[in-house]
Subunit: 404 residues, 2 copies
């Protein structure tokens, strides 16, 4: 039985919270000074825990176990969204360090830029060979436009080699993360064994109408792109519940009307819309419905709406054996106080799942808040879940190596 | 019968077009170098036409007839929206100069900043005593933030007195303007006698929900401010046609979702909404319906919507006698090719109507385009309408002075 030092684990998490501290959360954008300092601090913690630590050319921090295998890989990410929470990512990385310190044969990883300041999962994709140099050339910070190459140079990462995982080294990948929702909290549960990570299908709907003076143009004459956006989204609101799955979510995060002035009929509208589900059949059904609604708008409105798929990720089911190990440990440590559930958010685990068995464990999120500085989880839930993770890791390793 | 020199009128208009020329339109923001040069050019044209010209402390250019009255006031504005049309405003000012040159007893005015770069009708309001020094202290350019006081100093206007109209001097105010819509063009008409200027009631609807992660939050848990905005505007779209008047217009020019990211449920939405009508009863009915819809949203949605009236202008009916004079002249010059119509846009005439009889005449707008550099009107329609205006002015003056 590994003895996870939960006090030391909580102290490490709180020490890490000082890098870029913002109110009760952190502001640690990828490759910022605060982010790079936290990466160097992590390397020191890894070395203390007996790992060989290095940082690679995309900013991934990797702590390699020095003893014999079979090994597990455990980790998450260190950077945060802007003015966001102290646990999102940090929890999973420090859980990995806690497991390594307890003597388990784990490598620990902090993937760079899971939060997407520059790209989409560039750290985890780089580790499995899915990030080309050409993409690095092309990417830039989505908030202030700094090219990724410039950021890497300023962070002192230019010229360093990028690490590649050897999947054969691992029995699997575990990631501990906050739920980022209220499903656990609202049912009084303390742990969530993740069944899989939903796919996110992301669309841009562009509507072209005619910009006109709001006073001089009668209602009948108008080609109002904003009004089409409202009618289109109202149809989605009515029709998606009839074709979605039990856990589907859909979100319109942005409606931009151009020029956006009170007395000008919008000549152009841009809508960002996404839906998430773990079932490919549901995802395809929703895209078909969205396509039909856009086509219908082009029949009924005096505007031209265009639907453009920006990205369609793949659902990533979690490994059955790893889920079972997590479920046994959860039932032992918190009997009746855990459930199985999908992850509605994307995580680095979805890329690890492409090259090895992978699984995730969720802690409750107070009020479901995440991507905000007030994000938090009770310390007893943090401690409980790192114990569940350690037990599951040991259990899974033992069973894997007994298996025929 | 006054002999309006329509060739000279068209030449003047085209000369004025060179100040801040932008493609086939003009870029002449209020108090810019191009705008001030056009004002000084106008003063020279006024003097040539026998008027006494001066520019006042807010930038109004005023040309005073030197002979005996009774007088008319004729004018509009010189500055343009950014990268906008060559006729919006300029047409009405140069029509005034053309009438003065023909010998009619008219004063000509170019009101400053009708286009609202710094405020709302500050030129015309200043002339009738509705612009306080405190408001001038407070105003700033809505595009780049320069304080109005700074702009006035840089334009050389600081310290000049502001002129005040003597309404007793005038029988009325005429303004010739482009329609800024397609009602004349689509019916093959060449002139519009304006019945009044609609009121604009402008609202801000603020919706407070809860910002959340688009993956971790189930549909049932959400408090999506953007979705409430869509549902609210969809109800307006369904219900306003049942309570509006025959010429009512309503416009949502901006929907801002906060934070506006694809994977974040909007925690806050701001909607700019306005409606316009000439009938106070219709305006009140529409505001009551909007209020009810917002209240209903607060009963049915898990968000808090607040309706805030930003401004409620007054409808400005045009003077009957002046309308009749315009109608007679239009029927004489373009038999069967004119109509009566309200103005959906605001104009300086609405402030002049507060202190004297006022009326407006519209020329067709090609394609209804305005507030865009491609705005245009056929030269024969420009010439026709300045003739109608001159005849109507003479007719109206003659009848006014015969009346008991």
């Amino acid at each position: 039985m590994p003895a996870v030092d939960t006090d030391r684990f909580l102290k490490d998490l709180n020490d890490l919270r000082e890098f870029g501290r913002y109110r009760t959360g952190v502001h640690r954008p990828t490759y910022s000074q605060e982010d790079m300092e936290s990466r160097r601090w992590l390397m020191a913690r890894m070395e203390e825990a007996g790992l060989h630590a290095e940082m690679d050319g995309i900013g991934n921090v990797f702590g390699r176990h020095k003893g014999p295998g079979p090994h597990l890989l455990v980790g998450s990410h260190l950077e945060s969204q802007n003015q966001a929470g102290w646990l999102d990512g940090a929890l999973g990385v420090m859980a990995g360090v806690a497991l390594a310190r307890s003597g388990l044969p784990v490598d620990v990883v902090a993937f760079a830029d899971e939060e997407g300041h520059y790209g989409s999962f560039i750290g985890s994709r780089s580790l499995i060979g899915l990030l080309e140099e050409e993409e690095i050339d092309r990417l830039a910070n989505k908030y202030h436009g700094k090219p990724l190459r410039t950021a890497l140079r300023e962070a002192g990462l230019e010229g360093r080699p990028r690490l590649r995982l050897d999947p054969a080294r691992y029995q699997g990948f575990f990631e501990l993360h906050i739920e980022q929702g209220t499903q656990l909290e609202s049912q009084g549960l303390r742990a969530g064994v993740v069944t899989g990570i939903v796919a996110i299908w992301q669309f841009r709907i562009t509507i072209e109408g005619m910009q006109d003076h709001a006073g001089g143009t009668t209602m009948a004459e108008r080609r109002d792109a904003g009004l089409t956006a409202v009618r289109l989204l109202a149809r989605v609101d009515r029709e998606f519940p009839m074709v979605c799955g039990p856990r589907t979510t859909w979100t319109c995060g942005r409606i931009a009307l151009d020029p956006g002035a009170p007395s000008i009929i919008p000549g152009r509208a841009e809508v960002l819309f996404q839906f998430r589900d773990i079932d490919p059949a549901v995802l395809e059904r929703l895209e078909e419905r969205l396509t039909r609604i856009v086509q219908e708008m082009n029949r009924t409105e005096r505007t031209v709406s265009t639907l453009e798929a920006m990205s369609r990720s793949k659902p990533a089911p979690c490994d059955d054996g790893m889920q079972e190990a997590l479920a046994r440990a959860a039932e032992k440590e918190a009997p009746g106080k855990w459930q199985r559930m999908p992850s509605g958010a994307g995580h680095d685990a979805q890329y690890m799942a492409r090259v090895m068995p992978a699984a995730m464990l969720f802690t409750p999120s107070i009020g479901g808040i995440s991507h905000h500085w007030s994000e938090d989880t009770k310390p007893e839930d943090l401690a409980l879940n790192v114990k569940i993770l350690a037990e599951a890791a040991e259990d899974y390793l033992r069973r894997s190596n007994k298996a025929p």
